[in-house]
Every structure is written in C-alpha cells, then in structure tokens.
C-alpha cells in the first residue's frame, strides 16, 4: 500500500508494527505508515482477494 501523505510504499505487516504503544490499538483497524505515521484503513478481505486474483492473472500473462 502507498501512504497518501508521504508516498512511502509499504506492506500492511510493516504498518501494524508501529501501533503497539497506542491506547486504542486493540479496536483500531488502521495501518500506520512506518515513515510518517499517517494512518490508512486496512483493505477489506474482499478487495484483497480481488487484487490477488488480478495479480495472479497478470503473472500468468
């Protein structure tokens, strides 16, 4: 995913690690940019699935 604020491209796993110290991290579904800290919502499962199908199709080509 790409941070809408600083433009850093990162994976969701890298974005969650910065939230450990936050008081609301238990109920929060935002991903934090490892560079600037801007939060972006996680992609819902359905959208991730469609994206993975698209990626597979492109690779086959």
């Amino acid at each position: 995913m790409k941070c809408p604020l600083c433009g850093l491209e990162f994976r969701e796993q890298d974005g969650v690690s910065g939230c450990k110290g936050c008081v609301v991290s238990g109920s929060c579904s935002l991903v934090k940019c490892p560079n600037c800290g801007y939060e972006t919502p996680k992609e819902p499962g359905v959208i991730k699935f469609i994206r993975s199908l698209k990626k597979q199709k492109e690779r086959k080509k």
């Binding site: 790409k2 809408p4 604020l5 600083c6 433009g7 850093l8 491209e9 990162f10 994976r11 796993q13 890298d14 110290g21 936050c22 008081v23 609301v24 109920s27 929060c28 579904s29 935002l30 934090k32 490892p34 560079n35 600037c36 800290g37 801007y38 939060e39 972006t40 919502p41 996680k42 992609e43 819902p44 959208i47 690779r59 086959k60």
Partner: protein, 668 residues
C-alpha cells in the same frame, strides 16, 4: 530478520516462464531505487520475456530475477523491491539492501525519478559511500521536462563522480546508452559527504577498529552503526565478538554530543551537499510551460494562494457535511427514527420492566444509555462523521494532503516554527490521539512539546470537525468566524511556542505525488473502514459517559459540576443549559458538540452564542484518550500543565469572541 541469514538463494520458488533457467556463474546487475521510478520497465528492457519471481528467503517479499544478453555477454539481472534509503524502515528495503550486501553485484543501477532528483540523490550518496559499483539512471526525464525542469546530466556526472544516464524507459529512450554503461562499466569512487568534525572523527575511529571482511565500505558500516541500524549492529557484533563493546562506546559517546539523533545530523549534512549540487545542475523554466494540474498543485502549496484554496475546500466540506450529513440524515435519524420509534418504544419497555425510577434513568429518559448515549452516537455523530469521512477520503485520494502539509510547512516557517511538526498536525485532523503518539517521531523535545500543545488546543479531529461543521450549518458567516478564530489561535500559539522554546529549525521534505481524480473504490473502502473504526471507538465511550452521568446524578456530583461550569458559561454569553454540554466536552469534544447540537435543535442556541460555544468547545482538549496519550508521551506534569492552560484559555477565547462580536454589532 538478520542480514546473515540472507546468504543462500531459496530452493523452492514460485516461478513462471522458463523454470530450467540457471543463473549460476553469471555476473549480477542489480536494479535499486524507490518505488514507482520505472525499475520494472528497465528490468523488462534488460531481460526480455523469461523471469522468475520468488520470495526472498525468510520473507514474503518478492524479488524478480532474469537473464539478459548485453553485447556478447550474459548477465543475471535482479529487480529489487522499492528502497528509499540504505537505512531501512520496511522489510522490502531490508531485502533490497541484503541483495546489495550479500549477492556481490558486478553493477548496481540506481533507477531514479528525474523530477524528484533532490530526494533521489540521498540513496545515490549512500551507495557511493558504501563503495557499491553503482551508476545513476535518471529515468522519467520526459515528466521532468513537462514540469519545466532541465538537468545537465554531464555536469551532474562530474559533480558526483559516477556515470549518469538519462532515460525514458517507457519509450526506450536512452536504453542503448544504459546497456553500454553496463557492459563497459568501470567502478569509480563517487563524491563523498563531508560531515562535521565530531561525526568524521567517530567514523574514523570506528573504521580503524572494525575487523573482518564486509561487502560494503567500512565508512558506510561506521555511518550505519552511528545511526543505530539494528541489522548492521548485530552483524558487526557477531564478527567483533568481545571487541564490539568498544565500538558501542564510541557510538554512545558521539550521540551524547548532539541534542538530535545522529540519523538526523547525518541526513541534514547530506541534504546540504545535495542542495549545492542541485543548484548547479538543474534549471527550472518559467511556470508558463506547466500544465493545469501542476499549476494547481503549486498554488495549493503556495503560502498565499494556498489560503483561498483551503477555504474553498473547507466550504465544500461544510456544504457536504452540513447539508447532507446534518440537515438530511441527522434530522431523519434523530427526529423520526429515535424520536418517533426507538425512544418511545424502549422507554415503554424499560418503564414497564423496571419499576425503580433510579434504574430506569440508567437506560432511558434525559441521560439514559439508549436515549442519550446511543442517540448521540447513532443519530447525530454517525451520519455527520460518515459524510465527513466521504469528503475526507476524496481529499486524501486526490493527493491534496501532502500539499496541505507543504502549505502548512511554509506557513510554519513564516512564524518561525519547524516544518516537521507538520506531520503530526496533519495527522491530528484524522485522530488527535494517534497524532499525539506520532509526536515521538519528532527529533527534539522542543518540537514534541509544541506539536502536542497545537494538537491538544487547536486541531479538531475529523469526527469533531464533522460535528462542528454540522452545528454551524445554515450560518456561513459563523463558519468563517470559527475558521478565522481557530487559525488565529493556531498561528498565535505556534508563534508564541516557537519563541518560548527556542531551538534549531530543521529542514522538512517529503514526496508530493501528482494530483489525480479520486477512485470510487478507494473512497468507498476508506470511508467504510474509517466509519467502522470510529464507531467501535466512540460507542463504548458514549455509553461510559452516560453511565458516569447517571452515577453523577445519583451522587449529586453532576449537578455540582454543571453549577460550577454555569458561571464561566454565563460569562461567555451562553444559556446555562450549555454547561451540561461543556461537561460532556471533557470526555470528548464531539460528545460536547453533540450536546450543543441538541440545544440548537431545541432552539436554545443560535447566532453569536452558537459560534462562541463552538469556538470554546473546539479549543478543549480533544478527548480522554488523547489526554491519557499526552500523559504517556509527555508525563503527568506536562499533561496537567497543558490542561491547566487549555481549559481556561478556551473560555477566555470564547469570552473575547463574544465581546468582539457583540461590540461590533454583528448579527448572525
């Protein structure tokens, strides 16, 4: 993840194309660079059809490899994941660096975005410091040209000391020269950065003490040690064994000589060197050559022209949230759904099941969990916040946010404030609690305190801003008075803080992506997730507030507090009923604003008192969660000092606004 685990190539991989391909014995050409600079297109030119895509060992990061015949020789070409710096933040950057360190490349090509050359050269300098066999491919030269930018690549080559090739990979321009540079590559020592005496002396001492073989220069290792790179530290520790402690001592000793982290000191020195080069090698032609999108982009960031654009955007938000969110949705949910159905139905059930009035009050009547907590959350906050998040997602997806950050940065500089405080301030418009946590990423104590004060005082979060916009719906003059007061408070506090807490004013730079039309799917996803997140966070708090109010009513504490608050409330010209809303405001600014909304609907609040109440509550500390985060980040003493300043300051500002508006005979 350790660098030392990256020595072997993965046995099983997700491959396609010619899986029998072997790359053993071939010289390696590694492509590195930030994401979206055209690495994959360059890779395609060098390799042709057959490539393998596999996870880098021990990670889930994709690395693409292929073979390419250049001249009469065959090479293995490796396309690495996006990398901004040799000091990694993400796993992808770690993998890219590991390939550089462990795969012994014959040639490293840094593919760079020509239009962002200033930012790109940081990695170039780091690669030169590491003595990597590197040359620079300035790609996307056509886009730079369209922006009126000219780069003298010959002069750049002389300045930095390594070969520079200009390309437009998408149409193949310059690719032949790029190929020639690979086949005829001769490793050259590039220009180095001269750091200050303290850093240079530490680097020298570390270099002399380093033992063992490293794939990159000892100078680069020393610099990465000074910047606390965990992977490099563990690699050196393993090689140096017992002697590592003396290296650590030098690093700690050097750190103590600066108030800012060494990473920052080193980056700033490199940036100065880069700026010198940029001044010599680039020429930007007049703005007439720019297209509409670029002109608009520049206007958005301009310290003067940016103001009307920002006001126009606020007005758009106001119309969208105020009309669609507040007037249409809130009216329907509050008046019809709750007023006519849910409240009478639940009240009927509760009063028939629970005979005791005291317990009935916990769930229904004036301050009940359902009739107050749930009603505020679902009928008032939810529709307002949802429409606000739609507008916010559109703004975010269009690329306006980085421009807003640059605009605020320029404004900050005018009042003597440092630009990097921009990031948490912009984040505060999303959620003040998280933004307060982000202030820890600021380098100096001074910056952290200023940013926290600004966030606590003058930056309403998105939910609060939504409810405030809804409150002011129907009074456009009220909106501009509110915006003017908030901007004045923000700039005045920043100006004052910058003078009270002196210090250096560091540089601020960030990537500004192109402006674009927002995608419907992105807007939907972002809005949906934000509403869900907000609702999960806010609903328990509203229920808790209802329970506390119920308990406060039982014990008499609630009446005592509202009575006490009614004095400052009367002083700023508001009806005494507003004291209850201000008490809610101590929990969350938006909970308080929802209370004010109730008063407005009941016809008890309009005109000047409405604007005064909105200004006052917007200056309150955002919410209990943000306050606890301030305690966590800045300590009890600082958090309580901020609260002791903010609450009286909010009432004082309300008092002054009331005085001025009445004095001027303003009619709203």
């Amino acid at each position: 993840m350790s660098l030392l685990n990256f020595g072997k190539k993965q046995e099983s991989c997700r491959c396609h194309g010619n899986t029998d391909e072997t790359t053993d014995g071939l010289q390696k050409v590694v492509l590195v660079g930030s994401p979206n600079v055209g690495k994959s297109v360059v890779f395609g030119y060098l390799t042709g059809r057959y490539v393998t895509v596999s996870n880098y060992p021990g990670t889930t990061v994709d690395v693409t490899r292929g073979k390419g015949r250049l001249g009469d020789k065959e090479f293995e070409i490796i396309d690495t994941p996006g990398m901004y710096s040799l000091l990694p933040i993400t796993e992808e950057e770690r993998v890219a660096r590991s390939i550089l360190l462990d795969e012994n490349p014959a040639v490293v090509i840094q593919v760079a975005d020509a239009k962002n050359i200033e930012r790109m050269l940081h990695l170039t300098f780091q690669l030169m410091e590491a003595e990597a066999p590197v040359f620079l491919d300035l790609n996307l030269m056509d886009e730079a040209g369209r922006l009126g930018m000219k780069i003298d690549t010959g002069l750049l080559e002389k300045e930095i000391g390594i070969p520079v090739v200009a390309t437009v990979a998408t149409d193949g321009s310059g690719m032949d020269i790029l190929k020639e540079n690979i086949t005829g590559f001769k490793n050259r020592t590039g220009r180095g950065v001269k750091y200050d005496k303290t850093v240079e002396s530490a680097v020298q001492r570390l270099r002399e003490m380093l033992r063992g073989e490293y794939r990159i220069s000892k100078r680069a290792i020393a610099l990465l040690l000074l910047q606390d790179d965990p992977d490099i530290k563990s690699m050196v520790r393993e090689r140096m064994k017992d002697n590592y402690a003396s290296l650590e001592e030098i690093v700690e000793e050097t750190k103590k000589k600066y108030s800012q982290p060494l990473n920052y000191i080193i980056t700033i020195a490199r940036q100065r060197e880069i700026m010198e080069i940029i001044k010599k090698v680039t020429v930007s032609s007049p703005a007439e050559t720019l297209d509409f999108r670029e002109r608009l982009s520049r206007l958005m960031m301009h310290p003067v022209a940016g103001i009307p654009i920002l006001l126009l955007i606020i007005y758009g938000f106001y119309e969208f949230v105020g009309v669609l969110g507040a007037q249409v949705s809130v009216d329907f949910l509050e008046e019809t759904v709750f007023g006519e159905y849910i409240n009478p139905f639940v009240t009927g059930i509760v009063t028939s099941v629970i005979p005791w009035k005291v317990w009935q009050n916990l769930f229904v009547h004036e301050y009940g969990i359902i009739t107050l907590g749930l009603r505020y959350a679902i009928a008032i906050i939810l529709p307002v916040v949802s429409t606000f998040f739609i507008a916010f997602s559109i703004m975010e997806d269009s690329g306006y946010l980085p421009r807003l950050a640059m605009f605020i940065d320029r404004l900050f500089k005018k009042i003597g404030l440092n630009g990097r405080a921009v990031i948490p301030v912009v984040l505060g418009f999303g959620c003040d609690t998280m933004a307060t946590m982000v202030t820890r990423t600021l380098e100096t104590k001074r910056e952290r305190i200023i940013a926290t004060v600004l966030l606590s005082l003058a930056v309403p979060c998105s939910a609060q801003l939504g409810v405030i916009l809804a409150l002011l719906s129907g009074s456009i003059m009220g909106l501009w008075i509110f915006a003017g007061v908030m901007a004045t408070v923000f700039l005045f506090t920043g100006f004052l803080a910058a003078r009270i807490i002196p210090g250096e004013k560091p540089l601020f730079f960030m990537e500004v992506p192109p402006l674009r039309w927002p995608k419907l799917s992105n807007v939907f996803t972002k809005t949906y997730t934000r509403v869900e997140w907000y609702f999960k966070e806010v609903l328990p708090l509203f229920i808790l507030a209802s329970i506390l109010i119920w308990a406060g009513k039982l014990t008499g504490v609630f009446d005592l507090l509202t009575n006490a608050l009614s004095y400052p409330v009367a002083l700023i010209g508001l009806p005494k009923e507003a004291a209850t809303s201000f008490l809610y405001g101590f929990f969350r600014r938006d909970f308080g604003a929802a209370g004010l909304y109730d008063l407005k609907t009941a016809g008890l609040l309009d005109g000047i008192p409405l604007v005064v109440s909105v200004v006052t509550i917007a200056l309150f500390m955002p919410c209990i969660a943000q306050f606890s985060m301030t305690i966590k980040e800045r300590g009890w003493k600082m958090a309580l000092s901020m609260a002791a300043f903010i609450f009286p300051f909010a009432f004082l500002t309300g008092y002054l606004v009331n005085l001025v508006l009445n004095g001027l005979g303003v009619v709203l």
